[in-house]
């Protein structure tokens, strides 16, 4: 494989921040990316993840912090001199240039010799399997093909870093799965370092080596997919990681990590993620896959049992997704191996280790830097 990423040791973001006219889009982003890593920036729309990517690309200047590659500052270098590759959400292909010329553009800007350009473009086209479309204009290609051109165009220059801004969000579900594998394959085979922005947690979990979860411009958690999946740092991350049951409850007993929690008409035992005290209001997160209807094959787990009325039953192939309402009116997402009768009362169980108890309070002002506290005070 002739196309290979040019390498560096580490990319460091120190306190990177960006505000737009007094509104903070991104606050204090600290991250060290090692060469060859696939990092996903994950969060709902407006969380600052695209701002972060554009700051790194140099399309938006930083208002705070610095970006270093191997100890050298890059945030002061113009975007065109950073040597990164970028894939845009809407692909941003040059509509007046053929596929070949789109891919050759970056090489021509780097004054690569003509014969070399030709060879590398041909390789990049082969890499994304677009040989028969090489002389077409982007407008004549399907969305998936355009996406592939955009990727080929970004990797052909052998960039130090590839930035991808929700590259799959405009594709249909089936194509999205295919391209996911494709991007991961290219990342591994070319030895790229990739920063990938997405709002799709499944995409992020399946592709990335490490995830950065953002909310309102602030980093909530950084970790491997396993770490985030099993041990979300707060209820927001849990919400993003598929803990669809988020229930506000009261703590009635604490025994080490094991916490007894109660809501109207239902009591559970769960695991505290941070120290909590009796009487405190907490938010409890349980995945639907961990909250099961008790049956002959599904025994009660860890003594955790409660009841509820069945309101909806959906067939999901191997199992049933059941909507359950507790006596207190709380709706729950439950899985079941048998279809319960709508309107009947069923018993639910969940392993206490898989019932996560979080403080309700999310943003902790103590984590703000001294500078930001000042700013906040000045703004009143």
């Amino acid at each position: 494989m002739a196309i290979a990423a040019s390498t560096f040791e580490s990319l460091e973001l120190h306190g990177v921040g960006r505000s737009f006219g007094g509104r903070n889009a991104l606050v204090d982003l600290n991250l060290t990316v090692r060469a060859g890593e696939f990092i996903a920036l994950l969060g709902p729309s407006g969380c600052g993840k695209s701002t972060a990517l554009n700051c790194i690309a140099g399309l938006i200047p930083l208002t705070h912090g610095e970006i270093l590659i191997d100890g050298k500052r890059v945030d002061t270098i113009a975007a065109e001199k950073r040597g990164f590759g970028m894939v845009f959400q809407n692909y941003a292909l040059f509509p007046h240039l053929t596929v070949e010329k789109n891919i050759a553009f970056g090489l021509q800007m780097r004054n690569v010799a003509k014969s070399e350009v030709k060879r590398r473009v041909a390789e990049a086209i082969a890499l994304v399997k677009l040989e028969e479309h090489a002389t077409k204009l982007p407008g004549q290609l399907s969305g998936g093909q355009q996406q592939r051109v955009a990727i080929a165009r970004a990797v052909v220059v052998e960039p130090r870093l590839v930035l991808m801004d929700e590259p799959l969000s405009n594709l249909d579900a089936k194509l999205r799965l295919e391209m996911r594998t494709e991007i991961r394959r290219l990342h591994t085979s070319l030895g790229l370092t990739t920063l990938y922005v997405t709002h799709d947690q499944e995409e992020a979990l399946s592709m990335a080596d490490r995830l950065v979860v953002l909310r309102e411009g602030r980093v909530q958690q950084v970790g491997t997919p396993q770490e985030l999946h099993n041990g979300p740092a707060n209820w927001h991350v849990a919400d993003f990681m598929g803990y669809r049951n988020l229930i506000d409850m009261d703590v009635t007993a604490v025994d080490g990590d094991l916490v007894t929690i109660q809501d109207k008409g239902f009591t559970l035992q769960g695991t505290a993620t941070q120290p909590v005290s009796v009487g405190e209001k907490v938010r409890v997160a349980i995945r639907p896959e961990d909250l099961l209807a008790v049956s002959a094959t599904v025994p009660v787990r860890g003594g955790n049992v409660t009841t509820g009325f069945v309101s909806v039953v959906e067939y999901h192939g191997r199992e049933f997704a059941v909507g359950v309402t507790t006596a207190g009116g709380q709706g729950l997402h439950v899985r079941s191996d048998h279809p319960p009768v709508v309107g009947s009362t069923i018993e639910l169980t969940a392993d206490p280790a898989r019932v996560l108890v979080f403080p309700t309070q999310l943003a902790n002002p103590i984590t703000l830097s001294a500078q930001e506290r000042e700013l906040a005070e000045v703004r009143g």
Partner: protein, 314 residues
């Protein structure tokens, strides 16, 4: 209508449409909504097609004097136009005004449109200031120019007082006076058109070129310019036509019998002073033909350019 439906129903075989006649006509775009075109059609015929054809007819009925002087039978007007240097030179004089002004207006609009595409404080105010002259009539502009830039005008007095010049400079009543007037009225127009074409180019396309290592000259030449070319062509055509048909400013701030003796002035002279309707029509028709040639040249150039979507909001 119901009878038509019945007829169609009775006579209809499997292959034939069973829809009513009215329905079938509507499918081909023939229905009562066509009536909405009547006013447009009326004005097109009454105000354009008829007078235009009449004018063309007039050009082939030259006055006896013209026929005597230049010969050429029914084509005498045309012979006269091309042989009489007083008439024919006006083509050059008009071109000398219209082409540079059109090119200047288009080229100068590009950087302004670029700057005003970005978001910054005071953008609305600046845009308003740039576009405002479009609301001033030609006469008002001419009047203002005469007062501001005339021999006794504010500008000359100011320049003399600060010692830049010691004699008043002739800014108006010559070629430059008309150029200024045409730029004042034509520039906002070109700017508005080019801004709208520029907003049709997706900004992320330029961002992509930037990340790929293109500096601003390369981005402009290789990405923006090719995508903007069709818009530049259209804007050039319209600003050229505007400048080519210059009349009031050529008379008011120009040198009407000298350097700004433009074609429309010649046509007016033939019509108003010599009462020679056929000659006036001939000059007008030749004006139109010259404009068509310039437009054709620009369109041919444009046809070599990319014409498809530019990805933006249009």
């Amino acid at each position: 209508m119901s009878t038509a439906a019945l007829k169609a129903g009775k006579g209809g075989t499997a292959a034939k449409s069973t829809a009513s006649l009215r329905h079938r006509l509507a499918e081909r775009g023939i229905d009562t909504s066509l009536l909405m075109l009547v006013p447009a059609l009326f004005f097109a015929v009454a105000l354009f097609i008829y007078p235009f054809s009449y004018g063309i007819g007039l050009t082939f009925q030259p006055s006896p004097e013209i026929q005597q002087q230049w010969g050429g039978g029914m084509f005498a007007n045309y012979v006269a136009f091309f042989k009489d240097s007083f008439l024919f030179d006006s083509v050059w004089l008009t071109m000398r005004l219209a082409l540079p002004v059109a090119i200047f207006n288009v080229l100068a609009s590009i950087p302004v449109a670029f700057k005003l595409r970005q978001r910054f404080r005071g953008k609305k105010l600046l845009t308003t200031l740039v576009v405002l002259p479009i609301t001033l009539g030609t006469v008002l502009t001419a009047q203002g120019l005469l007062i501001f830039a005339g021999r006794q005008g504010w500008l000359n007095r100011f320049l003399i007082q600060i010692g830049v010049i010691d004699q008043p400079v002739a800014f108006v009543n010559n070629y430059w006076g008309v150029v200024f007037s045409l730029v004042i009225s034509g520039f906002p127009f070109a700017f508005l058109l080019i801004s709208s074409y520029l907003s049709g180019i997706d900004p992320s396309i330029e961002a992509a070129a930037k990340v790929m290592g293109a500096n601003w000259q390369q981005r402009f030449r290789r990405v923006i310019l090719p995508l903007l070319a069709p818009g530049l062509a259209t804007t050039s055509i319209l600003t050229f036509v505007l400048a080519f048909s210059v009349f009031p400013s050529a008379r008011l701030v120009g040198d009407a019998m000298g350097s700004t003796r433009v074609m429309s002035l010649m046509a007016f002279r033939a019509f108003g002073e010599q009462n020679d309707y056929p000659m006036a029509s001939t000059i007008a028709i030749i004006m139109g033909l010259i404009e068509l040639v310039v437009i054709a040249v620009i369109l041919v150039w444009r046809s070599t350019m990319y014409k498809g979507s530019t990805g933006g909001k249009g």
